[in-house]
């Protein structure tokens, strides 16, 4: 049962082949028996089982949605009433939110059953999940490799089939990179599609919620319940409700997939390039047309990102002052000292580093030279995508330069770590939807992801193109052997 997709589980529940309570027990047991992955930070069987019983009652009344009774786990960036919400930080240890994030609430209203909260990089800052205050998450394919970050717990949980689906968030690649490293399907929608209400903020002009699943079809089903306008988020987009499954039968014939030459440069490892080129060739075989395109300034995405994201982070994280919630130091001299000591003890090294960068680039005398200049280059990059989409319908390329690296390989060198988001950051800066789908294996038999990006609000076609590839190939069905 744990190997089934979200779509299959939904059908089995409605057909009465399994109950929501039985399913919840199956996954709770798997979470328990694979504790060494350290994917979960908070599990409360009584909460999960109560939600499962409510789902069963709803199914019995004939009021089920295709998702009712299907378990899901939430990245610990979304606040929840029934589970602790820590952002993987010491700062928010034992924090209990008075409300549920909109994404959590919407999936709960559809009847999905919450399995618990997932480990991630502290405040979603990182590319390897090594920045969690609560320890590393292991990659189910190879426990000596990182699962990717920041949504490392989400990726590992879905890869190991200890959750059929998991929410995640993406600021510069935090859904796509771990999805690629852990061999699962991960998608971030257009900026503004998913509510940011109750998502602990990192960089507000970039943060966007998305989902990790086994397949594009499952992601489309969940998007139907998860996305939509939310008056509580001032950057939420007001658009009519869409059916994200409507293009799953997309005809690939004549679909133009743009292949940016800048994504196949010197930094790309040959094993990743081989798998990605083969995936693109598969698309050509299925009828799509590959078009050479150029995103000349895409590589500037990294410096732009490391000005804008830290600037917004330093502003957002100023709310942690030891007064209203969060860690407060035990000993201090006065108010300022209390704040300094509380923040110094509560934040780990990466958030501190980014707060310092952000404070500097926003400070008097540097604001125009760094922050405004970065916002201008951000527009240059976004405009290049618009030019590219005149020549193609989707963009295809690698998600990462290499397969998952080992623990400690990049941890001491922030710049090396930052460069691992080379191919995901440009799309985040533009705010377009992007996804990673499994497309093979590279060095040390670690998974490779194919990145597909679409123009604003074109998620249905993006999901359709991914689904057609997954009907023709079986990379997304492969499972790490210890978990099969």
């Amino acid at each position: 049962m744990f190997k089934k997709s979200v779509a299959e589980l939904g059908r089995a529940l409605i057909a009465g082949e399994v109950s929501a309570v039985e399913l919840a027990r199956i996954f709770l047991e798997r979470i328990e028996s694979h504790k060494d992955l350290n994917a979960f930070l908070d599990v409360r069987p009584e909460v999960t089982l109560a939600q499962a019983r409510a789902a069963d009652a709803r199914i019995a009344k004939g009021e089920a949605t295709p998702l009712t009774g299907v378990p899901i786990a939430h990245k610990d960036i979304f606040v929840t009433r029934d589970f602790h919400s820590t952002a993987s930080s010491r700062m928010l240890k034992d924090y209990l939110s008075p409300f549920d994030a909109t994404v959590v609430e919407k999936l709960g209203s559809a009847g999905m059953v919450a399995l618990g909260k997932l480990n991630c990089d502290e405040f979603a800052m990182g590319s390897s999940n090594e920045n969690s205050h609560y320890g590393n998450v292991l990659n189910p394919w190879d426990k000596t490799a990182v699962p990717g970050g920041s949504s490392g717990g989400s990726a590992a949980a879905v890869a190991a089939r200890i959750a059929p689906a998991a929410t995640a968030t993406d600021t510069g690649g935090s859904i796509r990179e771990p999805a690629a490293f852990s061999g699962v399907t991960g998608i971030k929608p257009t900026y503004g599609r998913a509510s940011r209400w109750g998502m602990i903020a990192f960089a507000s002009s970039l943060d966007q919620a998305g989902i990790m699943t086994r397949s594009a079809e499952d992601a489309a089903l969940i998007f139907n319940a998860m996305l939509g306008f939310d008056p509580k988020d001032s950057t939420s987009v007001e658009r009519a409700h869409e059916d994200y499954t409507r293009s799953l039968d997309l005809d690939l014939k004549g679909l133009r997939i743009g292949v940016p030459k800048e994504f196949f440069g010197d930094g790309l490892k040959p094993d990743v390039e081989k798998a990605v080129r083969e995936a693109l060739a598969e698309y050509a075989k299925l009828g799509a047309r590959l078009v050479d395109i150029s995103l000349p300034n895409a590589a500037l995405g990294i410096p732009v990102y490391y000005v804008i994201a830290p600037a917004e982070c330093s502003s957002n994280l100023s709310r942690f002052d030891g007064v209203r919630y969060g860690h407060r130091a035990a000993h201090y001299a006065d108010l300022i000292d209390m704040m300094k000591k509380s923040r110094s003890e509560g934040f780990g090294p990466e958030p501190k580093r980014r707060i310092l960068i952000g404070t500097y680039v926003l400070s008097h005398g540097y604001y125009d030279a760094y922050y405004i200049q970065a916002q201008k280059v951000r527009r240059i990059i976004a405009d290049e995508f618009q030019r590219a989409f005149r020549e193609c319908d989707l963009i295809g390329g690698p998600v990462t330069t290499s397969v998952a690296f080992g623990f400690g390989e990049k941890a001491a060198d922030p710049v090396a770590m930052y460069l691992s988001d080379l191919y995901t950051i440009p799309g985040s800066l533009a705010g377009i939807p992007g996804m990673s789908i499994p497309c093979g294996f590279g060095a040390k038999n670690r998974p490779v992801g194919l990145q597909l990006m679409a123009n604003y609000f074109d998620e249905a076609r993006l999901l359709g193109a991914a689904h057609r590839y997954q009907q023709a190939t079986d990379w997304h069905l492969r499972m790490p052997k210890d978990f099969a």
Binding site: G192, P303, D321, V323, M339, Q373, K376
Partner: protein, 95 residues
């Protein structure tokens, strides 16, 4: 441009983060590496380009200007490190 140790301490003070000399020294090297990366932006010609503050442009929506009462004060305050009678307690500010 390279930061000095006193720059790091000044920024840390502005950011309300306590750093020891050893931490500031370690941060200095890493921050300078990061600023070397960021320096690439200085050579880009951005004349005539509008800064992009938000992917979809436009201004942010504001809600109706009506008073609302805080929902569930008790639940909202239960994470406070120190409180009394529905108020947050902080160290004495005014002598």
């Amino acid at each position: 441009m390279a930061l000095t140790l006193s720059d790091v301490k000044r920024i840390a003070h502005l950011a309300r983060i306590e750093v020891t000399d050893a931490e500031a020294g370690q941060a200095l090297g890493q921050l300078n590496d990061i600023f070397k990366l960021i320096e690439q932006l200085q050579s880009v010609d951005t004349s005539g380009i509008e800064p992009m503050s938000h992917p979809l442009g436009g201004s942010q929506r504001l809600r109706e200007d009506v008073a609302s009462s805080a929902e569930n004060r008790e639940a909202s305050m239960r994470n406070a490190p120190s409180q009394l009678d529905g108020l947050f307690l902080v160290p004495k500010v005014i002598e």
